[in-house]
Amino acid sequence: MLRSAFRVSHYSRVAIAIGVVVLGLAILERVLPAQGTGSSPSAQSPDVFTTAHRTVSDSVREFFGLREKPVQPIAYTHKVHLGNGMQCTDCHVGVDQGPDARIPSVNFCMTCHQVIATDKPEIKKLAAYRARGEDIPWQRVYGFEPSAHVKFNHAPHIRAGVDCSVCHGDMRQQTVAERKVDHTMGFCLNCHRQKNVSVDCVTCHF
């Protein structure tokens, strides 16, 4: 395998080397400390907000769009809740009014769960969070890399009658939410083209 690689011409090898160096620099640049305003803090400090990544690995991960599987603090199950007759919008309020589908706070969960299924271990975890005055640190499942600069707005999609399952899969088959649907740009464009909706870049990227 290696032998055939070395049969590549001298100039190609130089080109490959340059490509790798450029790639490395591009990644590194996103980690470089930034220029501050009155002070010159580094990207690692908790005192500044910056687009710089904390580590090289973070930068590489963003560059290749690698995201870990989210690990949720509580084993919430959509199957059970939807099976009991709840609707998506009972919890994900606001999805037809604005850009975001809100994940409710622990207070909302406890309106039911202070009496329902209180013996289950996951519900006990829920109650413990509330007792400590803490909200549940849900990990994001769907979303876009910051460098994709996507400003997705739920409301026009809901108003246009796009069902939640089109982009998020059939949640009645899922317990904890998983990334069943891959939100590549092609996925969005296919539907936009089918429905004859704008595919202008600034429709989503601004």
């Binding site: 470089l32 500044v48 600069h149 400003k151 707005n153 202008d200």
Partner: protein, 235 residues
């Protein structure tokens, strides 16, 4: 016919106060670069107020002119971008697609109005200044060009709202941050394809001129120069 956004600036009203400059920073998440970078002319004032001094003491006059991306219909920045990050939208804006931008800076080089700004470093906000950031606008990272977008986020929000309420967009309903703040009402934003709009009326008023129009960029900003006093006659 889709909207064709444009602006009119009445220089007889503009007093150079720079409310537009600060409003733009607040609305569009423009980071402060700091003293060192400002010295290297890297401050990112998407809209700036130019002032021109004429004459010698005691006969001195000063003229102000707010300058920002002219959203040219024949924009010199569009053909030079190797990745189509700078392109013309269907509503007549010059769109800057940050995720496409690879930072060649050819667009800034080509722009005769010098209204394109580059992020030489990752922007930094000393916490908690970042809490002010507008969630409706991207935060640009290092290596990306940025410039005035005519507050495209407000245009989008206005259009979506009008669609949701099943009504037409009223002239003047959408105001970019600069237009909204201007204390003398010197700035007007609207649809140039609508002959009844305020901006169309001003564009065809006979006072309207274009900045560097002779270069053939076909800018969408109409400047109405400062007028002079003619006694009490119709001016």
């Amino acid at each position: 016919m889709s909207h064709q956004w444009g602006m009119a600036i009445d220089l007889d009203r503009c007093t150079g106060c720079e409310a537009c400059v600060v409003a733009c920073h607040a609305e569009n998440n423009i980071s402060t670069v700091g003293e060192e970078q400002a010295e290297l002319r890297r401050a990112k004032h998407w809209i700036r107020v130019e002032r021109y001094y004429e004459g010698e003491f005691p006969d001195v006059t000063v003229k102000f002119m707010p300058v920002f991306c002219q959203q040219c219909d024949a924009a010199p920045c569009e053909p030079v971008c190797p990745t189509f990050a700078s392109y013309h939208t269907s509503e007549g804006l010059n769109g800057q697609v940050y995720n496409r931008c690879i930072g060649t800076r050819y667009c800034a080089n080509a722009c005769p109005y010098v209204v394109r700004y580059f992020n030489f470093y990752n922007p930094v906000w000393d916490k908690p200044l970042h809490l002010q950031l507008n969630p409706d606008v991207s935060v640009r990272e290092v290596g990306v060009m940025e410039k005035c977008t005519f507050c495209v986020q407000r245009i989008k929000a206005g259009e979506i709202q009008a669609e949701a309420e099943k009504r037409e967009l009223k002239d003047g309903a959408i105001q970019p941050a600069c237009v909204q703040s201007c204390p003398t009402r010197a700035m007007v934003f609207g649809d140039l394809s609508d002959p009844e709009s305020e901006v169309s009326r001003l564009a065809h008023s006979g006072r309207s001129t274009k900045l560097l129009g002779e270069l053939g960029t076909r800018p969408k900003v109409n400047y109405l120069p400062r007028d002079s006093w003619h006694g009490n006659e119709i001016s």
